[in-house]
Structure formats: structure tokens, C-alpha cells
Amino acid sequence: MIIQGRAVPIEGSDIDTDRMVPARFLKELTFERMGDYLFYDVRFEPNGEQKAHPLNHPQFQGASIMVVGANFGCGSSREHAAQAVKRAGFKAVVGISFSEIFSGNCQSIGVPVMTASPESLHAISRFIHDHPSASLVIDLQSMTLTYESGTTAISMPASRRDAFLSQSWDGLALLESNHAKTQALVDRLPYGPIQIRTTSS
């Protein structure tokens, strides 16, 4: 599996999912418009004027790979953040490290999230800054990221990589096919379902 495209660097570590999609946008019942809200409050003034943010820079328009720092996507489990990344046109995210829930959410919706060493990430970020129109090539088979200045090793959990390589990142059908095993587990589980009752204090 090859992902090729221009990239945008989002600098800084510990970027949380509140920053990625502020809570007020979670009042929508669907994910449809989440792409419009990506990094909203750090991209726009309250009056709608643009702030200096990589996603607003003309040279990064159309980028499809996001290059980020450490502990990206920390905080809230809101899938809205992963949905916003995908719906804003990103096909992959590469960073130093990711929160478990965010990377799981990306996996669930088919956006591979990969890590690389801090040194290589810094080098890639610098390169993108200097060459915003250059393309990066991510190869999940060889687990490499290639750009004009070189090739960098990237990594992701083997199970996740396998899911992408075999096009089975949407595991729902598989989970469902094991319903007999699931029922067998229920039968031996030491506790039962919630007892329906009328509750009162």
C-alpha cells in the first residue's frame, strides 16, 4: 500500500482533540461537516478572520499527509477529530507518538497513523517547510517514508499494518462472524447482563 502526496507540518506536542475539533461542534448529529472544523479555533479568529496556521497557508493547500509531533490526539475520545482529519483530505498521519484512542479511531475509519523517530520527524518537517510542493511517499509494505532528501523508517503496530495491507481495517464483518464464539464466552462469563429494573433513590 502506497500513500503519496504533499504534506503539512503541524508543530508542537500534546495537541489534544479539543484543539482539533472544539466541543461546540460536537453538537452535530453526524460527522459530515467535521472537515470544516479541523483546528478551528487556532485557525480562525472569532470574527472568522484567518490566523497564522499551517492549514491556512496557501502553499499547504491540498496536502494529504499530516506530519505531527508527540502525543498527538491526546485527550477526548471524540472520533470527530479523526473524522475531521479524514474529511479535510488527509490520507495518513505521521508523528512521534499518538494517543491510543485517536490512533484507534483513525484505524477504524481507514486512516493509517505511523510513527517515526523525533530526529527524522524534525528533518521531514524542515524539508516540508522548505519544499512545500514536494511529494512524500509512504510505503506500508517496506514501512518507509521517502522524500527528496532521503528515506526514513516508519512504524505502526503489526496488527494495524496487516489490516491496511489486507484492506481489512474495517473489522466489523470479522467481529460479527465470530458470534458463536462470542455467545460461548457470554455463557462462561462470571457475571450477567444489566438487570432491568425500575430505579429509584
Binding site: 508543530e11 508542537g12 506536542s13 500534546d14 489534544d16 479539543d18 484543539r19 472544539p22 466541543a23 461546540r24 460536537l26 453538537k27 448529529l29 453526524t30 460527522f31 479555533d41 487556532v42 472569532p46 508527540a70 502525543n71 491526546c74 477526548s76 475520545s77 471524540r78 472520533e79 479523526a82 507518538s97 499518538f98 494517543s99 491510543e100 484512542i101 484507534g104 479511531n105 477504524s108 503496530p157 503489526a158 496488527s159 496487516d162 489486507s166 481489512s168 473489522g171 466489523l172 470479522l174 467481529l175 465470530n178 458470534h179 464464539k181 462470542t182 464466552l185 457470554v186 462469563l189 462470571p190 457475571y191 447482563p193 444489566i194 438487570q195 429494573r197 430505579t199 429509584s200 433513590s201
Partner: protein, 468 residues
């Protein structure tokens, strides 16, 4: 790899099978649902024409968007009303119990679950909310999931999951007066960092945890996710059994006896092996206050804010962002920092014991005239118990608002929010940029006693001057 821990045992008891890609298919014993992260999942079910596989293993309540001034319907915010109606329809159509009234104990999902006895040791618990780690206080493996996973759980009651490593955090010594579980977890996150828990479940242990009541343990486990750990838990003990006995959904009679045997069996073995162990000196912890934009950016109340140049390289950039956002000065004392709003509530600190502590500080005192103070109980039961004890009268007499239950100003999805660049002394769990509803609002996380003391003086003060 860990072995013999509660994590290992409970994981194994819920492992349906190992999937071809190496992930485990994990059974979810209890699925908790709220209005914000579930409508997308129910919509997906409808699209596929599928039922909920085990409707009696899912239970719903409403917390994030609920107004706390009045809960009368329709809600004034049409988006909030639409979310409420969606959950009403979804739970009715799919046969799911919905705690949607004062009588059925609507409230914050992480307050309601434990206090009703829904949360029990040895369960796997999932919920579309990162603070699901809270439920680990009773010895459950509880973790937050996204909406696609909520859909998977509804349709199959299982998830594809990666096994975590287990880090044991041993909190030694004894907490000093005026120091609470909130301070302990803020100190742990400060010491270990916000990313130290990535890939780990945290097992909290040691004398401080053993001495801690369940409500304190809930606070501790609640913020595990703020340290990067998707799961935090405490081994069940006599304190756990005592807490659970007689709660509405707790087992009774012979079922109780059988449950206790299971709960005792899943405790981590004395010779369990861990992937890592960390010691935290409980006796040295003082009341903590965050000054920045991550929960690790905190200091003891008597300390000064750090100098960026003296921080490790990896923390400097975030510290610079934090100072820029908070408009605080490097090296200045946290004591005396002016506040505009005091918020007591959230899944971290809205239980009866939290309100009792806050009330003990506010009794015979007045909220500073420049401060807006708000007390939001975690559930209708908490509210009723607090009112039975007269706590609401203490808050009202002090000039604080006494509200209806909900998540409220923790994340400001309802009308409760900061305005402009107000500074909020808050018992909640996140001080992220814009978290409390204003894109320039500022949050100082602290314990209920610290927030109550700050409400009186309008500034950050040492709560130890106010607690006996």
C-alpha cells in the same frame, strides 16, 4: 509482558478469540452510552438494518449537552434538544435502558455507573468517552472508544483491541492534611508526563490508595487518560465490597457471594509481574494547581512557575505555548493568581465527598464579589444526598450557584462556559486551550478544597488555611 495482574486476568476472561491480524477480539461486559458519541453509531446500525446484539449490556444516560440551570424540555438550544431526542429514539427503538430523569438518576455517566452499582470489579466496560477509565476504581477494565467502535459494540458486543502493557504506580506514605486524590493524580501526571501512559494500563497501589475511599479512587482513575493511559485501575478490596453492597444494580444473595469470589480471584497476584513500576512519594504531595495547557503543567501551591530554559528540551515548546496562551510570567508564584470563575463539578470531582469538602471550606464564608462560582453535582442522586445534608444551603449562602447535574463547564457543550480570557479555578480534568467554552478561556485545575478557597478570595490560595 505482564502476568498475573488484574489486567491480564480480566482481559483473558473477556477474550473471545485472537483475530488473524494478531489483535484480540474482546467482549464488552458493560457498555455505557451518552448523547454525543452515540448517534453516529446508531445511524450506522440503522443503515445496515442490524439490531443491538446484547441490548441488556448497554445502558444510556445524558450528560454532556444538558443545561444545568433547568432541565425542562425542550432544551433552549435546538442542537442539544435534537441530541436528546435522538438518544430517546435510539434507546427506545433498540431496547436500551435510558436513565433519563431525576427518578432514574440521570447524571454524568462516570458518576452514575459506579454509584448505581452498574460498575463492578472484573468487568470490561467501554463507553464513547475517554474518562471511562474512571470505572477502574472498582477493579474493572474500563476504557474510552470512538463512535465507530461504539457501533461495533452495539452490533457485536465486542471490539478488536490491542493488549496494553501494565505499569504499577505505587503511592507510598500518607497524604497530609488538605491534600486530596485530585492532588495525587495531578502530581503523578506532573512527575510522569502526559505521554508516559501511552501503551499502558496504570495499576494504582500502595498505602495511599489502600486508605483511599472509592470516590477518591474514582478521581484517581478518572485522570489516567490525562497521563496517556487509556485504562487505570485499583485492585478490589474490602473498601470496594463495602461500597458495592446494596447498590441498585449490585448482585444480591447467592449471586453476591459468587461475585465476591470472582472479584477476589481477579486481584493482581502478590507475585504478578509488571512491565514497569513507578514510585510516587505520597507524603510529599502538596495541593496542586495547573498553570498551563496540559494537565502535566502543574506546580505545588507554594511553588513558582517553571522557567522555560530550565525545563527538559521536550517540554520547552509546549511551555512556551502555555505561557503565550495563559499570559502568565515565568518564575512567578502560583499563589495569588487572580481567578474569575470557580467551577466545582465534572466526572472528576462532583461526587458527594467532593461537595462535602467544598462545603466545609465555604461554610460561613462568602464567594468573592468578582467571582462567579458554580457547583454542579454529578447526578441526581448526588444532588439529592447533598441537599439532604444541607450542602446546597452552604453553597447558596456563600453566593455560589447550585445547579442541576451534567458535565457543565468541564467542556462547555451546554450554556455553562467561560467568557473571553476568564481564568477558571476548576475541579475538572482538562486545561486544554479553549476547553471551557471560550477559545481564549483559561483553566487552572485543582481539588474541590482549592477551588472553594479560591472562590472566597478571588485568587489562588493554599486551601490548607481553610480546612481543619
Amino acid at each position: 509482558m505482564s502476568s498475573g495482574t488484574l489486567y491480564d486476568k480480566v482481559w483473558e476472561a473477556h477474550r473471545v478469540t485472537t483475530l488473524p491480524n494478531g489483535q484480540d477480539q474482546l467482549f464488552v461486559g458493560l457498555h455505557l452510552v451518552h448523547e454525543v458519541t452515540s448517534p453516529q453509531a446508531f445511524a450506522a446500525l440503522r443503515e445496515l438494518g442490524k439490531p443491538v446484539a446484547y441490548p441488556q449490556r448497554t445502558i444510556a444516560t445524558m450528560d454532556h449537552i444538558v443545561p444545568t440551570a433547568s432541565q425542562s424540555r425542550p432544551f433552549p438550544d435546538p442542537q442539544a434538544e435534537a441530541m436528546a431526542q435522538a438518544l430517546e429514539k435510539n434507546t427506545a427503538d433498540f431496547g436500551i435502558q435510558f436513565l433519563n430523569s431525576p427518578q432514574s438518576n440521570q447524571g454524568i455517566v462516570h458518576v452514575v455507573g459506579p454509584e448505581m452499582g452498574l460498575t463492578q470489579p472484573g468487568m470490561t466496560i467501554a463507553c464513547g468517552d475517554s474518562h471511562t477509565s474512571t470505572h477502574g476504581a472498582l477493579g474493572a477494565l474500563a476504557f474510552g472508544i470512538g463512535s465507530t467502535e461504539v457501533h461495533h459494540v452495539l452490533q457485536t458486543q465486542t471490539l478488536a483491541a490491542n493488549r496494553l502493557k501494565v505499569k504499577r504506580i505505587v503511592i507510598s506514605g500518607q497524604l497530609s492534611r488538605g491534600v486530596y486524590p485530585k492532588d495525587v493524580i495531578l502530581r503523578i501526571i506532573q512527575q510522569l508526563g502526559v505521554a508516559a501512559g501511552l501503551g499502558y494500563a496504570y495499576e494504582y497501589a500502595g498505602p495511599v490508595v489502600e486508605e483511599m475511599g472509592i470516590e477518591g479512587r474514582l478521581t484517581l482513575c478518572n485522570m489516567s487518560i490525562e497521563g496517556g493511559a487509556r485504562i487505570g485501575y485499583v485492585n478490589p478490596d474490602d473498601v470496594t465490597l463495602h461500597y458495592l453492597k446494596g447498590r441498585p444494580f449490585s448482585p444480591t444473595g447467592e449471586a453476591w457471594d459468587r461475585a465476591v469470589l470472582y472479584w477476589q480471584a481477579i486481584r493482581s497476584d502478590a507475585n504478578a509481574t509488571y512491565d514497569a513500576t513507578v514510585d510516587v512519594a505520597g507524603g510529599e504531595i502538596e495541593p496542586m494547581v495547573t498553570w498551563g495547557i496540559t494537565p502535566a503543567q502543574s506546580v505545588g501551591v507554594t511553588q513558582h512557575l517553571p522557567l522555560i530554559a530550565e525545563l527538559p528540551d521536550t517540554q520547552q515548546l509546549v511551555a512556551k505555548d502555555a505561557y503565550g496562551y495563559m499570559n502568565f510570567k515565568e518564575g512567578s508564584p502560583i499563589l495569588g493568581t487572580k481567578i474569575d470563575v470557580a467551577f466545582i463539578g465534572s466526572c472528576t470531582n462532583s461526587r458527594l465527598s467532593d461537595l462535602e469538602i467544598a462545603a466545609s471550606v465555604l461554610r460561613h464564608q462568602r464567594v468573592h464579589p468578582s467571582v462567579r462560582a458554580m457547583v454542579v453535582p454529578g447526578s441526581h442522586w448526588v444532588k439529592a444526598q447533598a441537599e439532604a445534608a444541607g450542602l446546597h444551603e452552604v453553597f447558596l449562602a456563600a453566593g455560589a450557584e447550585w445547579r442541576e447535574p451534567g458535565c457543565s463547564m468541564c467542556l462547555a457543550m451546554n450554556p455553562d462556559r467561560l467568557v473571553g480570557n476568564e481564568v477558571c479555578a476548576s475541579t475538572s480534568n482538562r486545561n486544554f486551550m479553549g476547553r471551557q467554552g471560550s477559545p481564549t478561556g483559561r483553566t487552572l485545575l485543582m481539588s474541590p478544597a482549592m477551588v472553594a478557597a479560591a472562590a472566597i478570595t478571588g485568587r489562588v490560595v493554599d486551601c490548607r488555611e481553610y480546612v481543619s
